[in-house]
Structure formats: C-alpha cells, structure tokens
Amino acid sequence: MQIFLDRLSSGLTAGSIYVLIALALVVVFRCSGTINFAQGEFALFTCFVAWWLSTKGWPLALALIASMAVGFVMGMVAERALIRPVRRRSEVATLIVGLGLFTGLNGADGWIWGPADKTFPELLPHSPNDYISIAGSRLHYDSIGIFVGMLLVVLLLTLLFNRTPFGLQMRAVATNAESAALSGVKVGRVLSVSWGISAAIGSFAGVLLVPVLPPNQLDLSSFFSILIFASAAALFGGLDSVKGAVVGGLGLGVVESMLNGYGTFLGGSLQLTLALFIIVVVLVFKPTGVFGARRIERV
C-alpha cells in the first residue's frame, strides 16, 4: 500500500508538470492551429533567467514572476515576428520555425549562461523531513505544491476561457478566425497574447520543476524529454482540450510511475516506450484524442 501511494504521488507530481506543458501546447493549438515545438525551450530559457536572478539575490518567488513575465513577452514577440509572417505560407513552415526556435533558444542558453550545470534554489520546502504522512507513505510538501500549482493554472485558464471577454475572443479565433475578424476581433492581438500566455505557463512549469528534478540541477537537456511526454499527453487528451491535457498529463505521469515501481522487469527505458505505445493505440482509434473536438487534418 505504501509503495502504491508513493508511486501515485510521484506520478501525480510528474504528471502535473506534463499537464502544465500540455496546457501550454493546448493554448497555442486552440488559437493558432499549430504545435509549438519550442515550448520546452521557452520554459528552459526562462528557467535560466530565474536562476540568474536568484544568483543576484532575488527571492525565488519574485524570480518566478519575473521569468513568467519574460516568457510572456517572448511568446508574444515570437508569434508576431516569427510565426505570423510564415503562417500564411504553409503549415509545415510554421512547424519548422518552431524547430528553429527550439534549436536557437537551446543554443542561446548555452551561449549566454555557459554549458555547466547550475544548481537551482528551492521554491518549496524540499528537505527529506518536509512531508505529511498518509497511510505510511510520505507526501512531500513540494509534491503537494506542484500539484496545487497545476490545479491553480487549470482553474485560472478555465476562468479565462469561459468567463472573460478576452477568453470569448480567444475561443472565437480558435473556432473560426475569419468570422471572428468579421465581428471585429483583432485576431493578431489575440494570437500574440495566446502565445504569451502559453510561454508564461511553460515558465511556471519550468521553475516548479527544476528543484524537483534529480539532481537539483539545470542543464540544457532538462526539458527535452518533458516536452515529449507533454506532447504525447496533449495529443492523447485532444490538442484543443484543457480537460484532455489534465487527464492525459496526469494519466501519463501515473502510468509511468506505476511502471517504474511495479514493472521493473521491463527495464529502464522500456517504460517510456510502453507509455507512448499506449498513446499511439488510443490515437489510432480516436485521432482527435480522447476529449478533443476539432478534426485534426494536418499535423
């Protein structure tokens, strides 16, 4: 029982990070219809910014807010300057720009801050003694913090989409950009802000995650595998569905964690393969994802 709860909490924690990155992907996909391959790298870049600010003596909470703001601006600028001019040409072109951003940002991180691993300060209490005990298993404060953080973002996003005038415009652009424009929506501005929100969510996820990643280090490849998992989770849940991102991300985190704990006979890297295999099977039978609504014609 204790192992089960340990695995569950570990899975939900990792899953919360996948949910956050998946949500960032969903926000962009709903409005722009493209997948932002550079999502993880936006998060990584802003993590470096947060780290750098913390070395200057900023409390990490403040650095988190600053890095989210930086992420927001980066997202807006990327959409306006790089994606929008290209989108008219073809879908593939935007994907390639995303890949270019991915490579470019990763390189920029190394160039600006150097390739050595960096120790990241703690946002949430992290020592082995900071936990509450449930049925013999230890529920660490930082895990709870990450899960709560994820719930907070989900709540705020849902409120944004469904209860604010701007959210109405975002949904309109996501449904039919031409009709939205005919009704007076400034589509370009909605898209830029969507990308900004998406990048800010990614920053939030990044800064939450790094202290928890063993070892407590920030390096250039930190986000690569997370992006793969998050993309898989988002695809599984339906690229345009918030609910799908939550279910997909948490589900993937838990499955991965359970396989880690109980499926040791599978060996190390096969767990990832098995998790992804499950996703492929789902997508074969329901290409729009479990909760997705829009027909996905080209990816």
Binding site: R171, A172, T175, L182, S183, G184, R294
Partner: protein
C-alpha cells in the same frame, strides 16, 4: 453673397458623400482578376441589391469590401478613402458582413455567437438588451440560446449569422446570398426582417442575391454584375417592370 453659396455647396457635397463607394476597384485571387473596374455606391439608409449569375463575382465583391481580399482602386466610406481595408477596421467604420456559408462559430453556444458579434461594443447592458431583441425577432434563436450553434439547422444558422452581424450595430449590412439553400418560407421571413431593418431602423443594405424576385422587393436600386463588371444599374422599379431586362437578366 458668396459666402452663403459656398457653405451651401459644401453642405450639398457633404450630404452627397455615400456611406460606401467603390471607385475603379479591381480584385481577385492570386493571378486571376475577378472584379474589373467596379464603380458602385450605397447611400446611408439605402437598400441596394447586386444581382448576377454564378461566377459573376458577387461573393468576391462582398469579400473585397470587407477586406478579406486585397484590391486595387479606391474604397471610400463617408467620402474618406480607407487606406487599409480589413474586416475589423471596416466593422468599426460601420460596415458588417453576413458571409456566404454563414460563418457560424460552430463549437460555441448561440449566446456566445451573439456576444462575439458585439466585441467591438462597450456596455454589457445594451448588449444584453440587443441579444434579447434578436431572440424575439428570430424565435428559434431565443429557444436555443444555450445550444451549440453547430447543431442548428441551416435556416437557424442564417438567422444567427444576421443577428451576429447586427449585434455590432452596423450602419451598412452586407448580405452574401442569405437565401442560399433555405426553404422559401424561411427566406421570406428573413427578407421581411431585412426589409424592416432598412425601413424602420435605417440600416443600409447591400444584398447579393441570386433570388432576384424577393431581393427586388426590398431594394431601391439594382446593380447587375456580369463576369466581374457592372453591366447595368438603376432603380429597382425599372428592373421589375421592364420585361426585356427582366427576361434577359433575371430569368423570369
């Protein structure tokens, strides 16, 4: 005595400035020119219909005025040339489009569709009143406010498209083939509403129609579009009562 006459002529000039004017407009898709040298005007409060066969360029005309298609030539609103003709800009100048195919925001509720129509406006209460009003004019919309718009029938979606465009309170409503694919009774009802909009509220109309008979009952003036150019124009009465024109151009 020269001063009064100058002011008189300038006020006449100001009165005469049409709400919308196209002057030597060419437009098309890529290398294909569809509209050639279009000269057209709509005065404030006027109802004008553009008739023409399939492929004459009627939809291209509507989309050009709305800014969905680039053009060369001059488009003027209230006598002032519009430098960047774009959908949201034209809407803010008071020109709204009911597009062909309705453009329904299919995944959103009927109420949300109407709310989107009003994004260019301020004042939640006035917007709410307008929503109520359109639900009264179009009963089915009122009954289905919370329903997903994509599940509405063709006629209901057309009503929604008109209501959504009117939520922005435009001075000129462009209607692209609102009768397409709809039952005659529904089309009749729609044209009654459009007619009332024009006569009671003073909303100018520029209708593009293949259904000439109904459109002529609403419109004061007619333009006839043939292969991208204006072949004829004049008062609606002339078109209705001139047998030769009717048979040659309108097919009845």
């Amino acid at each position: 005595m020269s001063a009064p006459s100058t002011s008189q002529s300038s006020s006449t000039r100001a009165e005469a400035a049409p709400l919308l004017e196209l002057d030597g407009v060419f437009a098309g898709y890529g290398s294909t020119t569809v509209l050639r040298d279009i000269n057209l005007r709509v005065q404030a409060g006027e109802a004008v219909v553009v008739l023409g066969a399939n492929g004459a360029g009627k939809t291209t005309l509507m989309r050009t005025i709305s800014g969905l298609i680039p053009h060369t030539g001059r488009i003027r609103v209230d006598g002032n040339q519009v430098s960047r003709v774009r959908p949201d800009a034209m809407l803010r100048l008071g020109i709204g489009l009911v597009p062909q195919g309705r453009g329904t925001l299919t995944g959103m509720s009927v109420r949300d569709n109407l709310r989107v129509g009003a994004v260019s406006r301020r004042g939640a209460r006035a917007i709410g009143t307008d929503i109520d009003r359109w639900c009264e004019v179009f009963r089915p919309l009122g009954q289905r406010l919370n329903q997903v718009a994509g599940t509405l029938s063709g006629g209901e979606q057309q009503m929604l498209a008109v209501a959504r465009a009117m939520m922005a309170r435009p001075r000129l409503l462009l209607c692209d083939e609102v009768s397409l694919g709809l039952a005659p009774l529904i089309v009749q009802g729609l044209f009654e509403v459009l007619g009332q909009l024009n006569s009671d509220q003073g909303t100018a109309l520029l209708l593009v129609e293949q259904n000439a008979e109904l459109a002529l009952q609403v419109a004061a003036r007619v333009y006839l579009l043939e292969v991208g150019s204006v072949a004829a124009s004049g008062p609606a009465a002339e078109f209705q009562h001139n047998d030769a024109i009717r048979r040659a151009y309108l097919g009845y």
